[in-house]
């Protein structure tokens, strides 16, 4: 039995189904990231766990006990809100101490704990200030300190980095990861940023329209996406997708964009079947010279410093390839590429689900 169990959870408001039967299990000490586009229900799910928005059906169990009947304050869950939700009329120390004060911790002990957590998050020098006098990154730390000081059995993070600038986001992201590793806390984290999901999670749940698309480790989600939505959502740039038809001996595909350029498949399929061929940009290289090599014209070159992204034209479609920074592709000239077919992912043309090799 897992530490956190969410069991066929549903929520609907006025005939609108926000959550359509969510099942999640998370072990103690795990870092679960709920990811998906806006409106997919991930924040609603988080609020249901927190007890702020009751579900209409299903159950949430922590440590084997249903928490649905418990008031938010009795669930022993701390939450970091997107807006940080710091109490504007209290100092930083009072903010951090508020949950302790509510639980009746004596003043002396409270002050010790405030100082200890302030030290962990390097905000000791800010304890006497008010939230209005802090920068975004500092507010973020105070919000985390207020959650941390309670030592709850579960932490919830609701898009905590979305109000920070890009550089600070990377810093705080690392900070959260460090905190998780140090404290061994159990965390459920909501974001729409797939990089945050990949970097932080031990387990990712990808959601869309109130339905879980896939649940698994970051590597599973990235390498073996369950369907085209997950493949497209996770990874930047998005996975290259080429719709087409199985052709020839069943081990090749004729892409719709360029039917004469046959692409090899990782396994045999029924000839004539509609499929979508997916391959990530890093699995296309400009090296190798095998029979499967393609010569494609270069349309756009995007150097990022560490890599060079190249957009290639294949008939009426485009492919992005990630090349080493040392390579020097020339605009409008042909580039000879090979694909690592073993890393390619094949989806059914109709159901848009991933197809595995056996039995087709």
């Amino acid at each position: 039995m897992a530490f956190i169990e969410i069991d066929r959870l549903e929520r609907s408001i006025g005939g609108n189904h926000i959550l359509k039967g969510i099942d999640v299990a998370l072990e103690k000490g795990g870092f679960l990231v709920l990811v998906g586009p806006s409106g997919c229900g991930k924040s609603t799910l988080l609020n249901a766990i927190a007890g702020l928005q009751p579900p209409t059906a299903g159950d949430i169990r922590i440590d084997g006990q249903s928490v649905l009947a418990l008031h938010p304050s009795k669930r022993d869950i701390a939450m970091v809100f997107q807006s940080y939700a710091l109490y504007p009329n209290m100092t930083v120390a009072q903010n951090i101490g508020f949950p302790l004060e509510m639980s009746g911790t004596p003043k002396a002990q409270r002050e010790d704990e405030i100082r200890a957590v302030g030290k962990t998050l390097q905000i000791e020098h800010l304890l006497d200030r008010r939230p209005g006098q802090l920068s975004g990154g500092q507010r973020q730390r105070v919000a985390m300190a207020r959650a941390l000081v309670r030592k709850p059995r579960l932490f919830l993070f609701d898009e905590p980095l979305s109000n920070l600038d890009a550089k600070l986001r990377v810093e705080v992201r690392a900070e959260i990861k460090r905190l998780h590793q140090q404290t061994g806390a159990t965390i459920i984290y909501v974001t729409h940023d797939q990089i945050e999901a990949m970097t932080l999670a031990t387990q990712i749940v990808v959601m869309k329209d109130g339905v879980i698309q896939q649940s698994g480790t970051p590597a599973e989600i990235y390498n073996r996406p369950a369907n085209m939505f997950v493949a497209d959502f996770m990874g930047s740039p998005a996975m290259n997708m080429l719709p087409g038809q199985v052709a020839g001996d069943g081990r090749h595909m004729a892409p719709d964009a360029a039917p004469d350029r046959l692409l090899p498949l990782p396994f045999a399929l029924r000839v004539g079947r509609r499929i979508v061929f997916g391959i990530r940009s890093e699995n296309i290289s400009a090296e190798g010279n095998g029979v499967e090599a393609l010569d494609l014209p270069v349309e756009i070159v995007e150097p990022t410093g560490s890599d060079v992204f190249v957009w290639l034209r294949l008939g009426s479609a485009h492919l992005s390839a990630r090349l080493p920074a040392t390579s020097d592709p020339q605009l409008n000239e042909n580039l000879r590429i090979t694909m690592d077919i073993s890393r390619a992912v094949i989806f059914d043309g109709e159901s848009r689900e991933r197809i595995d090799g056996a039995g087709h």
Partner: protein, 295 residues
């Protein structure tokens, strides 16, 4: 002269002329509003002889505070000749609890209507708003019945009750609009931190409500202090508020008409609202704006 100013000047005459017109108009309107006040003050410091003989707009030749003392302590209202001081305290004893209670209840209503929404909260709010638009006169008789049943007729407590009930619609409206813009995440956060209904109200919401509290207090204070109709209907005689006493003083027709005493009494009656405005007027504008923009 910049191009803009030049354009204005050619369109509407030279710049200085505009200034003269604008300031001239402002001065005229200021004079229109200030003259009565000036006449009141000037008259209240004159002796009766001077009033009879002199110019109404003239400054007092021989200023005396006698009318003020008389108005406060010994003018005859009805059959008693103890001035208006008793009624002044009546008004204070009515206005302070009525303002405090209606403001607190309004804040509590606003809190519930925005942060603890229940089924039908819109209807409840709509009905409370409706109370703002009911004319005073139409509730007089039912209100008199209610006060009679409660045994509060002709008492200051009764007046407090009337003003609290009647003011609740306004104060609820003020606070609801203000709290509507208050981030709900803060409430959620406090809930998760273990704070209950009243703790959240007292520790999180109220400390951030200063501007709207000021608006509410000024609005309620002026309305209740200046109210005449409820006062004259529900609290005649000993427990009458200031406004009613002032009316009785002015309309008592025993002997000579003492304009100077009447004026002094009127100024005393107007003084508390004036003081409240002067002290808190700045916050009043700010609070009204905040409510208007965010609400």
């Amino acid at each position: 002269m910049s191009r803009n100013e030049a354009a204005i000047a050619t369109a509407a005459g030279p710049g200085w002329l505009n200034r003269v017109v604008i300031y001239g108009l402002l001065l005229i309107f200021a004079a229109v509003y200030l003259t009565p006040l000036f006449v009141m003050l000037a008259t209240s410091f004159k002796s009766l002889d001077e009033i009879r003989g002199g110019d109404i707009l003239a400054l007092p030749r021989d200023p005396t505070i006698e009318p003020w003392l008389k108005a406060w302590g010994s003018a005859c209202i009805g059959v008693t000749c103890e001035g208006i001081k008793g009624y002044f305290w009546n008004s204070l004893r009515m206005v302070v609890p009525a303002v405090l209670i209606s403001t607190m209840l309004g804040a509590l209503n606003g809190y519930v209507l925005t942060k603890w929404r229940f089924r039908g909260h819109k209807i409840v709010f709509g009905l409370m708003l409706f109370a703002c638009f009911i004319p005073f006169q139409s509730v007089l008789i039912p209100m008199a019945r209610v006060l009679g049943t409660l045994g509060l007729s002709n008492s200051i407590t009764g007046l407090v009750l009337v003003h609290v009930v009647y003011g609740l619609g306004f104060t609820t409206l003020f606070f609801r609009n203000y709290y509507e813009a208050f981030p709900t995440e803060l409430i959620h956060s406090a809930q998760m931190d273990g704070a209950g209904f009243f703790t959240i109200f007292r520790r999180i919401l109220l400390p951030s409500s200063a501007p709207i509290i000021v608006v509410c207090v000024i609005y309620q204070f002026t309305n209740i202090w200046n109210d005449f109709l409820f006062g004259v209907s529900f609290a005649a005689g000993e427990s009458a508020p200031m406004t009613v006493a002032l009316n009785n003083l002015v309309s008592s027709s025993t002997g000579v008409k003492e304009y100077n005493v009447d004026m002094a009494a009127a100024v005393i009656a107007a003084l508390p609202t004036l003081i409240v405005y002067v002290l808190a007027g700045r916050y009043f504008m700010r609070g009204l704006m905040a409510g208007a923009v965010k609400g």
